[in-house]
């Protein structure tokens, strides 16, 4: 049984300071306090249970990362690696863990000839894109946002509308340098037998799938200190120019090479046909149906401005005259102006046949090329989360949207924001071979509607319920990894997805020190909302599995409960009814 280190000992602290120098390690609470995500944004789900680290350490290279991890391994210190601290899952959960903040490792090297970027974990997307474009290359900016760390994002969701043309970003991972939880460094792809990371495959089994899993391990399998990424040749002779500033700053498109189209479709069937047909013809750079609410958000200059438009338009939106009936298409003349003209002709032919009307749209990069405003998802209501984000078929996307909407409207609206029948975000991926679906919910954490004191409590429950609906309706879900309620989805997918997860975890991280614990949600639900186990018909992960829970075993054997390790204020927001 591993021993829980309740506090980082002076010896361990000194060992860390010896590696990075005293300037780059701290246990000062005025700093460690801010190493939780905050904003209560995902308190309902992924962030629940986060607490400040005992120590923050900031290495500057792989050598230092390796030495730090070895110290953690020796002293049995749980640690959480942090790239840009954007992924809400990277906050530590075990008391007095070590935050390994990789922000100083922002290196970016190029192999222009082979169109490869070699990046370190602190690098974010917008500088990568800026430097790529200087070299006649580009990549996509993911929905996670320009401020997301490239490596962290490549190892997790990395979804973008541009994945329609470029494919899932994870397939662009080439050579990788990986510090395992015991401090061993392994190199994947061509890095395994040379210093050149240009090739993804190497001798032996390809461990990139293991590294990433379905939706990433969220720091559970060690730390990636270097990754080579395949880039694409830029389709523009010149860089796009920024225009406007503040909230409306954007990149202006040269309309001879890149162009948005918004088509109002006469029916859902026409929408499906359009999306399929565009893909079948292999035209376009992005094809999607964007939720109405995000169109309103994009047009608003403040929270007040948004609500002054959204509320009064309720009937118009319910009647389907708003943009959930809009098929949004991006065309790019990758090789020439003639290509754009050619694809435009095909697009118009498809849409004319389906009876679609072409509407207006701005010809600029409001998102996806260089900027993605995921950070702005929170301002309309204060609280936001995606309860689902999954890649399957187009038919699955539409079906999953209807299932989740029904559940949301029946049980959770209010306090969740009423989106007037919105069935979620749908886009084509892999040239139409797959489809991405996302269901986003919002609420006001400060001033919830309805009878519940806490909007985020209901958002949390909606997330749990969404996993149940996937099982009941034979639908696929993103919530099958360490993000999920493992006791609920684990046994339902594959030969117990949870067991596979745990076996891999035990093989790679036998001391369970890399971003533990695995079964967070089950534990919190068990203590915080046990009624859900009956309502949504599951047994917590802890009753199903026998390994991989050392932290919990030790914590509970010492009488720890969430209420002991989390501050009192944390529990103020619960399921109490008002009046």
């Amino acid at each position: 049984m591993p021993k829980v280190t309740e506090k980082v000992s002076q010896a361990a602290y000194n060992a860390l300071a010896n590696i990075v120098g005293p300037e780059w390690v701290t246990d000062d609470a005025s700093i460690t306090e801010s190493y939780v995500k905050g904003g209560e944004i995902h308190d309902c789900i992924y962030q629940r249970g986060q607490q400040p680290p005992g120590v923050v350490v900031m290495p500057k290279n792989t050598d230092e990362v390796q030495k730090i991890v070895k110290v953690c391994f020796r002293y049995h210190l749980p640690y959480t690696p942090i790239g840009a601290f954007w992924g809400v899952h990277c906050g530590g959960k075990v008391p007095f863990h070590v935050s390994i903040d990789l922000s100083r490792m922002r290196g970016l090297d190029w192999d222009e000839k082979h169109m490869v970027a070699i990046v370190e974990p602190g690098l974010i997307h917008s500088p990568l894109q800026a430097e790529a474009q200087e070299r006649g290359l580009y990549t996509m900016t993911p929905g996670g946002g320009s401020q997301a760390a490239v490596i962290g994002n490549m190892l997790t969701c990395n979804y973008s509308p541009l994945n329609y043309r470029l494919g899932l970003a994870t397939r662009r991972i080439l050579g990788v340098e990986w510090v395992l939880p015991d401090g061993e460094v392994i190199r994947l792809g061509s890095l395994s037998n040379s210093d050149d990371p240009y090739w993804g495959e190497g001798p032996g089994p390809d461990l990139r799938g293991l590294l990433r899993g379905y939706l990433g391990w969220w720091g559970k399998v060690g730390i990636i200190t270097k990754m080579a990424i395949k880039m694409h040749p830029l389709f523009l002779p010149e860089r796009m120019k920024p225009v406007e500033r503040g909230m409306m700053s954007t990149l202006e498109f040269p309309d001879n090479r890149i162009k948005w189209y918004n088509f109002r479709m006469p029916s859902e069937e026409a929408m499906r046909k359009a999306m399929r047909e565009i893909s079948r013809c292999e035209i376009g750079a992005a094809v999607m149906r964007v939720p109405t609410i995000w169109r309103y958000r994009g047009k608003s200059v403040s929270r007040e401005d948004f609500w002054s438009k959204w509320g009064p338009d309720e009937q118009k939106i319910r009647d389907g005259r708003a943009t959930s009936s809009v098929c949004r298409v991006l065309l790019i003349g990758y090789t020439s102006e003639a290509q754009l003209k050619y694809e435009e002709e095909i697009l118009m032919e498809i849409m004319t046949e389906l009876g679609a009307d072409l509407g207006r749209t701005k010809q600029s990069d409001q998102s996806w090329i260089k900027n993605a405003d995921s950070a702005g998802m929170w301002w309309p209501a204060g609280g936001y989360v995606s309860v689902e984000f999954v890649v399957e078929t187009l038919e699955h996307s539409f079906a999953r949207g209807k299932t989740l909407l029904k559940e949301k409207e029946a049980k959770f609206t209010p306090p969740l924001v009423d989106e007037y029948g919105e069935e979620g975000w749908i886009q084509m991926t892999d040239m139409g071979h797959t489809s991405y679906f996302e269901f986003l919910i919002q609420w006001d954490p400060e001033h919830p509607l309805g009878k519940y004191k806490s909007g985020e409590y209901k958002a949390w429950e909606h997330w749990v319920a969404s996993q149940r609906t996937a099982i009941d309706h034979g639908q696929y879900t993103a919530n099958i990894g360490s993000l999920s309620v493992m006791g609920l989805t684990g046994p339902a997918f594959g030969p117990n997805y949870g067991e596979i997860y745990d076996k891999v975890r035990q093989a790679v991280d036998p001391k369970d020190i890399s971003n533990p614990p695995l079964d967070l949600h089950d534990r919190v639900i068990e203590e915080f909302a046990p009624q859900w186990m009956e309502e949504y018909d599951f047994k917590p992960w802890t009753e199903l599995m026998h390994g991989g829970q050392e932290w919990w075993k030790v914590l509970t054997s010492r009488g720890y409960k969430w209420r002991d390790v989390l501050p009192e204020w944390y529990w103020d927001r619960d399921d109490k009814e008002i009046g």
Partner: protein, 425 residues
């Protein structure tokens, strides 16, 4: 009730709770992100890392308000190792639209009220109290720069500020020459430090004293307009004075203008003609306090309702939102572009996400390494732009640049815009 511009930390609980570490306060606007070299907007983070940026300070403020944190050895540095340049605020307005700068100012006030502030700041406070200027120079020498065109009575008051009065008298003399061509001006009798350093350091009571003294002197002149060439003084008169008086800038009994706002239209109309030629590629540096920090202040009272929306209180219209984009940006650019021979170059971080020179927020006094780092980074941008000189509109920016060049191989001349204008007249 919510009162815009409150100086109480507890009034920013919404801001501190709603910050979710998106780091817009740290990174440059992604649309304008130039490369992997100049990626940050926050000098404090770029120098110290960890969470020494607005999101970290807001988390700290929240913990203090909720009584979850006692004093720690590093707390003072965490709060005061910051230039108070406002770059974070314009970043947050891009995404979450929170009042970050107000929160940081209130956090400093909270720390000062608890006696937790850098010792080096006390010297500045004592200087202002005793000598009415931040340098501790004799008050009687304040106008020793030698006004030539000052009149006994005018509708325009020239407020020189401490920097131009004591540190770089060229600037006051250049302003004198310019204002002479624009119809003359009068001095503010009994002019004292505007109080900017006190406000930025979080000493609001001492600041209020300076404000009251200067406002009384201004009232005695009966003038309709106050003009200054110092960005710090400009921001203080235009934004902070009305803020403390709970009134909007537009309701002040006099107009506050920066000298570039007078010169630009005069150049456009032909009232001012540049006869001299200045053959140079000039890099224009946007001073924080002329640009993003100097949007007109709008006083507002009301409540925060459903969805966090601000609902105006009785007698108040809907709140006007500051984004950092309505400061003075184009006037100095237009003036420089009109000088024969001048080519104006943009630095990579410009307008509301301009990189601070390092001369603000009490950093040069308490954290000289931060001030030196900030200016060193800016001078890298100047070099990167291929500029033959760097121009700004604030005596402290100029001083920072001059200090910054001392230890560098790459050196170019530094000007205040008033010097160039006066030279070209």
């Amino acid at each position: 009730m919510i009162v815009s511009g409150s100086l109480e930390l507890k009034d920013y609980m919404y801001e501190m709770r709603r910050c979710m570490r998106c780091a817009s306060c740290k990174w440059l606007d992604h649309i304008y992100m130039p490369d992997n070299r100049f990626v940050y907007r926050c000098p404090s983070y770029a120098k110290y890392y960890y969470s020494k940026v607005a999101y970290g300070r807001l988390k700290l403020g929240l913990a203090l308000c909720e009584n979850r944190l006692e004093d720690t050895p590093g707390m003072k540095d965490m709060v005061f190792q910051c230039l108070m340049c406002g770059a974070c605020d314009s970043g947050c307005k891009r995404n979450l639209d929170l009042e970050i700068m107000n929160s940081l100012e209130a956090l400093r006030g909270h720390m000062v009220a608890g006696g937790r502030y850098p010792e080096a700041h006390q010297r500045v406070i004592d200087h202002v109290a005793k000598s009415h200027n931040k340098f501790g120079a004799p008050h009687k020498d304040r106008a020793a720069w030698g006004p030539v065109n000052a009149q006994a009575k005018s509708d325009t008051v020239y407020f020189a500020g401490c920097g131009a009065s004591y540190q770089d008298k060229n600037l006051a003399q250049a302003s004198d020459k310019i204002l002479g061509q624009l119809g003359g001006y009068m001095l503010l009798l009994g002019e004292q430090c505007c109080g900017h350093p006190l406000f930025a350091m979080g000493h609001f009571d001492a600041f209020r004293q300076q404000m009251e003294t200067n406002l009384e002197a201004m009232k005695a002149t009966g003038a309709k307009r106050l003009v200054t060439a110092c960005a710090e003084c400009y921001k203080t008169w235009k934004v902070d004075y009305p803020r403390l008086m709970k009134m909007s800038t537009k309701d002040l009994p006099f107009e506050v203008v920066h000298i570039t706002e007078l010169v630009a239209p005069a150049v456009a109309s032909g009232q001012i003609k540049f006869n001299g030629r200045v053959d140079m590629k000039l890099a224009w540096h946007d001073p924080c306090n002329l640009g993003r920090m100097s949007e007109p202040y709008t006083h507002w009272e009301g409540d925060r309702g459903q969805w966090g929306c601000l609902e105006p209180g009785q007698g108040f219209a809907a709140k006007e939102f500051n984004r950092g984009t309505a400061g003075v940006y184009e006037a100095p650019r237009d003036i420089l572009a009109a000088i024969p021979g001048v080519e104006v170059l943009e630095l990579k971080r410009h307008h509301e996400f301009s990189w601070c020179c390092g001369g603000h927020g009490g950093a040069p006094e308490a954290y000289p390494e931060l001030a030196a780092y900030a200016v060193s980074e800016r001078l890298e941008e100047v070099k990167d732009a291929g500029a033959e000189a760097v121009v700004s509109a604030c005596p402290y920016c100029k001083q920072q640049f001059q200090d910054g060049f001392k230890d560098r191989d790459h050196k170019v001349p530094v000007f205040d815009i008033t010097e160039l204008i006066a030279q070209a007249l």
